[in-house]
């Protein structure tokens, strides 16, 4: 057995009392490609942030032993000095700077103190770019003139320029098409030959199966197992089993007395393109329908196009060249502006409540009535504050927002209570269809249960509900039916009986790469 380059032992990391990592162990051999697998929120990225010093030494428990010595990283710079470089999912490039400048960003080649040595910068940049097959690019071109695939490669070149020994890639192929992904994976194999150790986080199990030498599976913040190529069983099914193999507990309230009625909303042939890259199709002919009293799930991996679908539907808030038809109660409607959507009784709660859902500096009442103000809480232009206060109090009780009063600022509430405020805000618009995008992201189990109860209550009141979730368990636990979305298209439709983590994963895997990629 070859030498161990990195050992992370008994790592425990908690965020305000909630354990994101619980006694995690990871051993990486020198020169291998080691994959980290797990569902969204399992703790993969947290573990890598602990390793790279994003969470400094002292904020977690456990030891990091790298090249035989125990390391205490206080900053990202500390880990980089040792040759550990992390490439995050979001690109860290400065779009208007040149390729060469980006390769050495934060690591500038200087002659005298602080003066950039351009000859050295360009020369060394070319060397670094050669590792990723980009040595023929124009070094002075702004990096935003390259496609996403090449930008991802620039990130790797940037890491190479730092004399990397251990390269960590967080979802490197999430934004890439198949061809670009293949190219990136080939480069990883190439780097491996040059002695660079890689840790890769990816949801695309076929890729992992192809390039990885061993796989560590994390579930709910705990290490489950480590599989080795050539020793253990090596297949996608085996990995899925490790990722999802936990028993269902009673985390979802039963929805009884909730008859499913007529179709409320139907969307036909919905397509849309990327807001900036006009020839990049994000959604391809999506058809869905949802009935009164029904909870329909949109399952899929991050970046599959679920949020993009919801946002483009809701007031064309995402994308361009949007086409398709929306029918409410059988009548065609327009959802060109958010106001149109609200007037046609559609509501959408964003996956990112702090950025898109709430005005954090305002109080609970003001946030709750923000969307319904014009329709229900004003006589002409004048706000009916009395009605506002009364209804805000009522909703606060109804969905159990824990706060001293409706005048508390929402920024001071916990995530779960903030989410309840967002929910109340859209319930107040008295919609027929509610699209809930990741309604329980980042909130604790108790608040989750309350949100599920609120969803059930709304369904019983005859609302049609769409739940978007990356947690497959949540889709299975709350939905009557689910569509699986992958790569911008419907990969399958599953009934309540058919719904299981395996069936969802299978839908995704089966459709992977089947799309007519440009």
């Amino acid at each position: 057995m070859s030498e161990i380059i990195l050992e992370m032992s008994h790592i425990t990391k908690a965020f305000s009392g909630v354990k994101a990592l619980d006694d995690v162990n990871l051993k990486v051999e020198k020169g291998e490609i080691h994959a980290l697998c797990g569902e969204n929120g399992a703790g993969k990225s947290t573990l890598m942030n602990v390793l790279s010093g994003v969470y400094p030494f002292g904020t977690y428990e456990g030891d990091i032993i790298y090249k035989g010595e125990t390391c205490k990283f206080h900053r990202i710079k500390d880990s980089e000095e040792k040759g550990i470089v992390i490439i995050h999912q979001e690109l860290a490039l400065s779009p208007y700077l040149s390729i060469a400048e980006n390769v050495f960003m934060g690591n500038e080649r200087t002659s005298m103190k602080g003066v950039i040595d351009w000859t050295e910068t360009r020369g060394r940049a070319k060397e670094a770019l050669a590792h990723v097959g980009l040595e023929n690019e124009n070094l002075n071109a702004p990096v935003n003139t390259l496609g996403v695939g090449k930008q991802q490669l620039i990130e790797i070149a940037k890491a190479m320029a730092k004399n990397v020994d251990l390269l960590i890639l967080d979802e490197p192929t999430a934004a890439l098409n198949d061809e670009e992904s293949q190219q990136l994976l080939d480069i990883m194999l190439d780097l491996k030959k040059k002695g660079v150790t890689c840790i890769i986080i990816s949801h695309k199990l076929n890729e992992i199966e192809r390039v990885a030498d061993s796989i560590t599976i994390i579930r709910d913040g705990k290490t489950i197992e480590t599989l080795r190529k050539g020793i253990d069983e090596w297949s996608e099914d085996r990995i899925i089993k490790g990722m999802v193999g936990r028993e269902m507990s009673n985390r979802y309230p039963v929805r009884d007395n909730c008859p499913i009625g007529e179709v409320v909303m139907e969307v036909k042939n919905w397509s849309c393109y990327h807001p900036e890259i006009s020839d990049m199709q994000i959604l391809k002919d999506i058809n869905i329908k949802v009935r009164a009293g029904e909870v329909v799930g949109l399952a899929g991996l991050m970046g599959a196009g679920r949020t993009e679908f919801a946002m483009s539907l809701f007031g064309h808030s995402y994308g361009q060249k949007i086409s398709g038809e929306v029918y409410m109660h059988g009548k065609q409607i327009s959802t060109k502006t958010v106001k149109d959507a609200i007037d046609n009784k559609i509501a959408y709660t964003s996956e990112d409540r702090k950025t898109y859902g709430l005005v954090l500096i305002n109080d609970i009442k003001t946030n709750m009535t923000m969307a319904a103000l014009r329709g229900y809480y004003a006589n002409g232009q004048i706000v009916d504050e009395r009605k506002e206060n009364l209804d805000a109090e009522e909703y606060k009780k109804k969905i159990n927002v824990k706060a001293t009063s409706i005048h508390q600022t929402v920024g001071s509430l916990s995530g779960g209570n903030q989410q309840k405020v967002v929910l109340a805000k859209w319930m107040m618009t008295q919609p027929d269809v509610l699209i809930l995008d990741e309604p329980t992201r980042g909130i604790d189990v108790g608040a989750k249960y309350e949100i599920y109860c609120a969803i059930n209550d709304m369904a019983r009141a005859g609302k049609a509900i769409i739940v978007i979730s990356s947690e497959m368990q949540e889709i299975i636990g709350t939905c009557d039916r689910a569509y699986v979305i992958n790569e911008g298209r419907i990969a399958g439709e599953l009934t309540k009986e058919e719904l299981s983590q395996e069936s969802i994963m299978k839908c995704i895997m089966d459709s992977n790469g089947k799309g007519d990629n440009k």
Binding site: V338, K339, V359, V383, S405
Partner: protein, 391 residues
């Protein structure tokens, strides 16, 4: 369901902090000038000298609420005033008509700026820097770099006139009973509103402010009100400018706190993305905020030219900075979404009292700028640091 929550909350001192600061600054200068800053004449001057700044601060607050500023207001003040003065003095136009033209010009500049800002996404800083330069240039061209004046009495009264008075002798001077009447009306209004608030709160089970704190707050406000109106009564009664101010401030206080439009401005300033996804047309809000600023700037121009008895091309140079500073001193957040009209007015008064007091102490205008800068910075530092402690 009976709730066991406390029925009283503490007074939010932060919202009153600047009023307290204003009183303290006034008292400091009272000591330094041996009481001459509190004479009837000087109290009257405080209003007359700062009226147009208060009007500008009111409009500027809306811009600041959206998270940006309008640099062009000083030039719009000058341009509006120049047009109105020229039409009246040189063309013999009727005063109201000339004023309408001035307001029309303010509106046009506002539409111009609002269009670029809202519909072409040009940063407000750039657009209003452009209107500032263009407006100033146009004013110089229009006036051929000369002063236009003097303005007739029916123009000047809006800046210098007074309401009719009923004077009685009191001590060595006279006292205007109209002022006393206004003070009484304001006092009754304040007490009635306070009682009504308490009654509504009780009826719906909302928490009230601790009684003694309410009492102290109201007594302080009443003392200020009575002091102010008695002093005005001892001088020459109620200035017309004060009425113009009162109407504008009342309208904007109402719009910002009680209307859908006001709510939308706050929501957009607090989080534009969330506002957009809540069905608020943020472009429209942006547009009207700048149109409104243009109109108010032209009104400020009319008031200023009336007071000065003429228009000159240098008028209102740099006052956009005073208006912006007033908003920040009055507790508005540079990032947007926080601030009140009353706060901006108090901020403008703080600046006014400072200017006035320092001049009376014989401090050079150069040093006055240093003090004003320090006060602005200090007020915002205080604001930011107290917020941090809380959050």
């Amino acid at each position: 369901m009976e709730e066991n929550k406390k029925k009283y909350v503490n007074l939010d001192l932060k919202s009153l902090g600047m009023i307290v600061a204003l009183v303290i600054i006034f008292i400091i200068f009272f000591v330094l000038t041996k009481g001459s800053n509190a004479t009837p004449t000087n109290i009257n001057n405080l209003i007359m000298q700062n009226g147009y700044i208060i009007i500008l601060a009111t409009g500027m607050l809306l811009c600041v609420l959206t998270g940006y500023i309008d640099l062009g207001v000083g030039s719009v003040v000058a341009l509006g005033a120049a047009c109105a003065a020229k039409l009246v003095v040189e063309q013999g136009w009727a005063v109201p008509l000339a004023w309408l033209v001035a307001i029309g010009i303010g509106l046009a500049v506002g539409v111009f700026a609002g269009f670029f800002i809202a519909y072409l996404d040009i940063p407000p800083f750039v657009v209003t820097l452009a209107t500032m330069l263009m407006g100033r240039g146009l004013t110089y061209t229009l006036l051929k770099s000369l002063t236009v004046g003097p303005l007739p009495q029916n123009y000047a009264f809006i800046g210098t006139g007074f309401l009719p008075t009923i004077k009685i002798t009191m001590g060595e001077g006279t006292l205007d009973l109209v002022c006393v009447a206004v003070a009484i009306i304001v006092s009754i209004g304040l007490i009635v509103t306070e009682m009504k608030n308490i009654r509504t709160n009780n009826k719906y089970g909302f928490a009230n402010i601790v009684p003694w704190q309410t009492a102290v707050k109201d007594i302080v406000i009443l003392v200020i009100v009575w002091f102010f109106f008695i002093r005005l009564g001892q001088y020459n009664g109620i200035p017309i400018q004060l009425i113009v101010l009162g109407v504008i401030v009342a309208i904007y206080q109402f719009v910002t706190s009680k209307t859908v439009a006001g709510r939308q401005i706050y929501a957009m300033g607090g989080n534009a993305k969330a506002a957009r996804l809540s069905g608020i047309n943020t472009k429209k809000v942006f547009f009207w905020v700048y149109v409104n600023m243009g109109v108010l700037a032209s009104i400020a121009g009319i008031v200023l030219s009336a007071r000065q008895g003429g228009a000159n091309p240098k008028m209102g140079d740099g006052i956009e900075m005073d208006a912006i500073a007033s908003c920040y001193i009055g507790g508005a957040a540079a990032a947007g979404g926080v601030g009140t009209v009353i706060g901006a007015v108090v901020g403008a008064l703080v600046m006014g009292v400072l200017n006035n007091g320092m001049s009376m102490c014989g401090m050079s205008t150069d040093l006055q700028k240093v003090v004003k800068g320090a006060v602005l910075l200090g007020a915002v530092v205080l604001d930011v640091t107290t917020k941090k402690k809380k959050g």
